[in-house]
Point group: C2
């Protein structure tokens, strides 16, 4: 299995262990307008639910040699998906899942700014133990 | 010259024709902290000034086969740079320069949402004529 898919599978197991029901994999919307087709499912965002709380989880593996490139990619997808979600299913909360190796990016000053300005919700996962280590800044409230 | 650089040169000329002084190419900041080095100059952001108004211009060529991928990349860089700018030089306004071919992305509903939610300022440029076609939503005020 490609490493990227290993991370994806690991996050699914971690979510289940944490009491989440995986409702969609991928969570997919198709938008048809005059100019572009956008299939959010191409990036295999996971849909999950716990009680009345619904989340859309963008799993990032941060496997490229440049953390900055990975961070930019993660931000770009996150912000774009979030805009679509707010249009299509505003009750679902967008969540970015990052491995422990990338957690420092979000715990430093610039990462803290992003969490605040973009209302980022981040899951830090342990890919080996297949568990959620922590939520940044915190788990969304139902 | 690679096509990407042609677009970069075209935007510089268009800015100058519009009365902007190119003050930095690239506009570069180096940030040193415990975890990462980030050189924003790697992406060759242009610094320009007109009167007291200072801008940082991220030039995107939108040359990949997928406009969605290009849009995500543009958003990721824009948002990250903007965070850095607000930390390092808050008076400088972040601007995204896109060719006419990509303008519809920002004139549609989702693009309009992005302009609003992210306070995006977009320059639409004509790469052949080397002119600025328009500003979205509008030119920043001094």
């Amino acid at each position: 299995m490609p490493r990227r898919d290993v991370y994806h599978a690991s996050v699914k197991k971690a979510l289940e262990l944490d009491g989440w029901e995986i409702t969609h994999d991928p969570l997919s919307y198709r938008i048809d307008n005059d100019q572009i087709f956008i299939d959010l499912g191409a990036e295999r965002v996971i849909g999950a639910q716990k009680g009345t709380l619904k989340i859309a989880v963008e799993v990032k593996s941060f496997l490229s040699p440049s953390p900055l490139t990975d961070l930019q990619e993660a931000i770009g997808q996150f912000v774009l998906y979030k805009e679509f979600l707010e249009e299509l299913e505003p009750s679902r909360i967008m969540v970015l899942a990052v491995p422990e190796s990338a957690a420092p990016l979000f715990e430093q000053r610039i990462g803290q700014r992003l969490l605040k300005s973009q209302n980022f919700v981040v899951i830090v996962y342990d890919v080996t133990k297949e568990v959620i280590s922590r939520w940044l800044p915190q788990i969304p409230k139902t």
